[in-house]
Assembly symmetry: C2
Homo-oligomer: 255 residues x 2
């Protein structure tokens, strides 16, 4: 019988100075499965080992960390105009142990693997090989941000990064605003953290006064917050213009 591919989510505190206990954000089943796995596919073996050390503090690992097999994914390929672009690749060789009956974990740097990261090629390969794919529960930042925004959650899209060039960015903002207002589809997007302030400025210049804008940072973390208001209200609150600072943030616009 073939092994399964488990999609193992991780906390959103990657790179943060203060990290809370894993069981604050991961259910026991996720921790138990992670503790039992001996084979992993990851973006970065070093941070996977750091994560597993934290798992071990909650649920003892089946094998010492040094004895685990961790395969790294190919590095992200940055396509022009698309930060998060990763060329699809044939990940079937990485899954060979599963064909011998060994369960494998897929893990990303933060959050749910195969959402906004290169892991989907691995999941696709697992389906091609007829392996069972099992997603485990953990934090998923775009959906936490959507819920916390108070914007319509019945229809929504996550559109990644906006263009950096100011004219192209303004055009894209108008396009997303039209989809949010006329199409009723809340639009979520992200930015490289040090450009948060520039993006927020562009949004406040470009959007209509009545459009709602929400920004979340530090989701699931101490000191995290969400601000959601009309563009009119954002404009008149000078303090809000530095809201997310240079923390990883998620932006949303809606009716």
């Amino acid at each position: 019988m073939s092994g399964r591919l488990y999609l193992v989510p991780t906390p959103l505190d990657h790179g943060c100075a203060v990290q809370s206990p894993l069981d604050d954000v991961l259910p026991l089943r996720t921790l138990r499965v992670a503790a039992a796995l001996t084979h992993w596919i990851s973006e970065n073996a070093k941070s996977t080992r750091a994560f597993l050390k934290r798992v071990d503090a909650c649920v003892p690992l089946a094998q010492p960390i040094q004895a685990l097999h961790i395969s790294e994914l190919p590095r992200a390929v940055h396509k022009k105009g698309d930060h998060a672009g990763v060329a699809p690749f044939d990940a079937r060789p990485l899954l060979a142990p599963a064909l011998q009956g060994t369960d494998i974990g897929l893990i990303s740097e933060a959050g749910m693997p195969a959402v906004a990261d290169p892991g989907s090629s691995v999941v696709r390969a697992a389906h091609a090989l007829g392996l069972e794919v099992v997603p485990l529960v953990g934090p998923v930042s775009p959906l936490l941000a959507l819920a916390a925004s108070g914007l319509g959650g019945q229809h929504f899209a996550f559109v990644g990064y906006l263009p950096q060039a100011s004219e192209a960015r303004a055009r894209r903002i108008h396009e997303l605003e039209a989809r949010a207002l006329r199409g009723g589809q809340t639009q979520l997007f992200i930015e490289t953290p040090y450009r948060n302030a520039a993006l927020l400025r562009a949004l406040l210049q470009t959007l209509q006064p009545g459009t709602r804008l929400a920004v979340s940072h530090g989701l699931t973390l101490d000191g995290g917050a969400t601000r959601s208001a009309t563009v009119r209200d954002w404009r008149t609150d000078a303090e809000a213009h530095a809201f997310a600072g240079d923390a990883p943030a998620i932006f949303a616009i809606g009716a």
Copy 2:
């Protein structure tokens, strides 16, 4: 100091005969916050009490269930052509206890509140009143389905229900396929469970052979599964045509 609005996710086993322990799918922090809350806003007080009974088995409740305050949301208003349509309403009166300093929990029937349910009006009202909104970690079925699909997770949209009339539904399927193939945006949608088979048939008749289609059911539950393949492969596998049965399912199409 004002109270907070906590967004408390629930398991995806609402209405299932067999339910697993809550800590399988909810992290300890979510359980601890839920156990401490005395005021709730919910779609259905009866199922909120049933959920809190399960919480109590993991983390003892601060107050007996009979002593809790549970306010119900207005019933969903089914707008023509949109099953999940809920008219926005002024939810500020429901949040009065928070202005006196009491934390309030918002909860839905299954999964994350304010995603694909009427809770967003409450979240919006909380922002209008200047309350802190704190989303807690738990299962979110559209994102579990996206991760398990192996379809591109860098750009995606959740579009709710498709039209029921066959011509309108076929037009909508073509439109979603174009967004998935030309726009590179994975499209996720749902159906009333007893219509799963009819929707799957329509998808297999309408989509191009090379388009990828994924269907997930029973996410986070025993016996749950995800099938992801090209339309060509779905068509040649007669068994697959009854894949989701009449279980709640999530459909995805992508390149």
